[in-house]
Symmetry: C2
Subunit: 371 residues, 2 copies
């Protein structure tokens, strides 16, 4: 905040209210530079009054309440320009007519990139639950199932394991149900969303993921199902197969694993994020697999992303990234390949950046497994 | 648009792209007043070129493409101020530096209130699927289940029936998984969200709905599970019970049904929406049930809402509404009561406004059923 001359930030988005309080309420978190945050709560009225909690009816009450608390109004006010609606921001600007409004989205995103030990503990817990679900994936399969039916059984065991059933994402282009199961040619259908993989979905209103393909021999089945168990998330992909796949599919899957091993060792604090992308692309090219890398008919421009409260956080692992890895960042890396007529292959893990390299918190065998 | 002097609208939100095209893509729909919309698509590149489709890389390409098509740039441009982020709107304003930016959110919301026959057909289809799922709810129950376990089995049959597994909502205060199952005292826990009913949820990051309550005799179990099967939605609630409930619960449930019957007959084109709210409140008060109506510890200020592409559309059925019912509006009415220590009771149906009154499209027995 201080680097950007923001004297106070007024947090209003769901993800950032949760980030700054560990709770969720309808209201605002006011964060003056250098002192404790104040929770301005509209509803519900269920908080302990000992906390720094002020009940309000609407945001217009905030300046008066600040004055009652003996606080001066800030000369500059940070607001979440990138996530709050234009109308909401205009309203909040009018609440602080004498404060210069500045965009606080970037500083909040940057703060959230590096996790505290409390956050890392939540995410490790997610990784354990998610792996436990993946251990039961094979049992969800029955012959002649469609990809959708298979996904539904995985959703059920996810939920029974404690998954909240709700995927918190950032931005407009991340509509998704509880994850993505893509099989066979459906993997090669381009999607409008900002996920690495596509699929046509079962309805034009949600054109991504499983599309009703009947699972049959010669197909890969990529499982990228949600890991939200506690307000944080892990992101994890493994691949199953029906019968044998062409050798190209195994070669590409091995290449994905090799890319992860290479990135795990170079992914230390102070490594440019772009180096991870470039190294991955270099290995894919050296193996003659560039045309299948990160899609075939349509290629994603990134191979990974930050993950935490939201499924897609900063940094984005892409060629033009200017971010630098920092200790305790958490990133999901997903070097994947789409093999025409076969499906998608590749592995995704969620990693913590440590002084010795990337440490996976989504531990589960990485080879292609048979259904 | 013409009433608000909007010469052209640039639609960018997911729900409105779907509304104006019946598809979803990353891009924009440009709607000049009085002529056909133009689809500006960033990705995916899978559309027929015969359509009015123009491929772009970024919104800054739009003015040049309009000129190529022989179109003048508009004097005023409608943008979705209420749903697009402040940063996105600032960017689009800069794309049209000589056009006066106006808020198109309201006119789009108003247009979407009244459904076309195509839309009504989709919603009737949703209602049939959702009722089919409710027919199987009793079979999902097993003794000593928790509300969460019960919900998971209902989610599974919803998905097997074709539910997309994704609830499209409007605004920040509508985080939800596939619906709400609330039992016993959990019904009386206030939530921060803009749903009529509360519940604590199973994690502070998603404080709504089922909370792990073990289902036991003397409890009502309110089922308000999602009806999204095709880009549109219906909204429907029914109540089950374990053993017998106190007579107050049955009385309140009957009152909910009586309220619906009364509103169905007065809900004709040209009826003020506020009349529906006031009539419902009048009946609840006449029955001595006001303290339980629309919540007990915390009361919702509305008894229904528009429904369509998004679960919560206009109009909102509340005392201060200035909307007037129009033929082929679709609204969900949910007069509900929270009975302390018992749970929630009441019925919710989705209705079409017709010349003879409200016609339900969520047809299923309304009495409390035994589990």
């Amino acid at each position: 905040m201080s680097r950007e001359n923001i004297e106070a930030t007024l947090v209003a988005s769901n993800a950032n209210i949760y980030y700054t309080t560990g709770r969720f309420f309808k209201g605002f978190v006011y964060i003056p530079m250098g002192s404790d945050p104040i929770w301005f709560i509209i509803k519900p009225d269920i908080f302990d009054k000992e906390d720094d909690v002020v009940i309000i009816r609407k945001p217009e009450n905030i300046p008066g309440k600040l004055k009652e608390l003996g606080l001066e109004l800030p000369a500059t006010i940070g607001l979440e320009f990138d996530t709050m609606s234009y109308s909401d921001i205009e309203r909040l600007k009018a609440v602080f007519p004498d404060s210069v409004p500045l965009n606080a989205s970037s500083s909040l995103r940057k703060a959230r990139m590096v996790k505290t030990q409390w956050e890392l503990d939540r995410m490790k817990e997610d990784g354990i639950h998610q792996s436990e679900v993946y251990r039961r994936v094979t049992r969800c399969y029955k012959e002649d199932m469609t990809d959708v039916q298979f996904q539904i059984e995985i959703e059920r065991i996810l939920r029974l394991e404690g998954c909240l059933g709700f995927v918190r994402t950032s931005g407009n282009l991340m509509d998704i149900n509880l994850g993505s199961v893509i099989a066979g040619e459906n993997a090669d259908v381009p999607s409008p969303y900002d996920f690495t993989m596509g699929g046509s979905g079962i309805d034009p209103s949600l054109p991504g993921g499983a599309n009703g393909t009947t699972l049959k021999p010669g197909q890969s089945v990529m499982i990228d199902m949600n890991g939200s168990f506690n307000g944080y998330q892990t992101d994890m992909t493994r691949v199953w197969r029906l019968g044998e796949l062409p050798s190209l599919a195994y070669k590409a899957h091995d290449c994905s694993i090799n890319i992860l091993r290479a990135l795990e060792s170079i992914g230390k604090p102070s490594t440019p994020v772009a180096d991870l992308y470039n190294k991955a692309m270099e290995i894919a090219e050296a193996n003659g697999l560039a045309e299948y890398f990160m899609g075939h008919r349509q290629h994603a421009s990134f191979i990974g992303h930050g993950v935490g409260i939201e499924l897609n956080e900063q940094p984005v692992v892409m060629a033009k990234s200017r971010d630098i890895l920092l200790e305790n960042m958490t990133i999901a890396l997903e070097p994947k390949f789409v093999i025409p007529e076969v499906g998608a292959v590749g592995v995704e893990n969620t990693y913590v950046v440590t002084s010795t390299g990337l440490k996976s918190i989504t531990i589960f065998p990485e080879e292609i497994q048979e259904l």
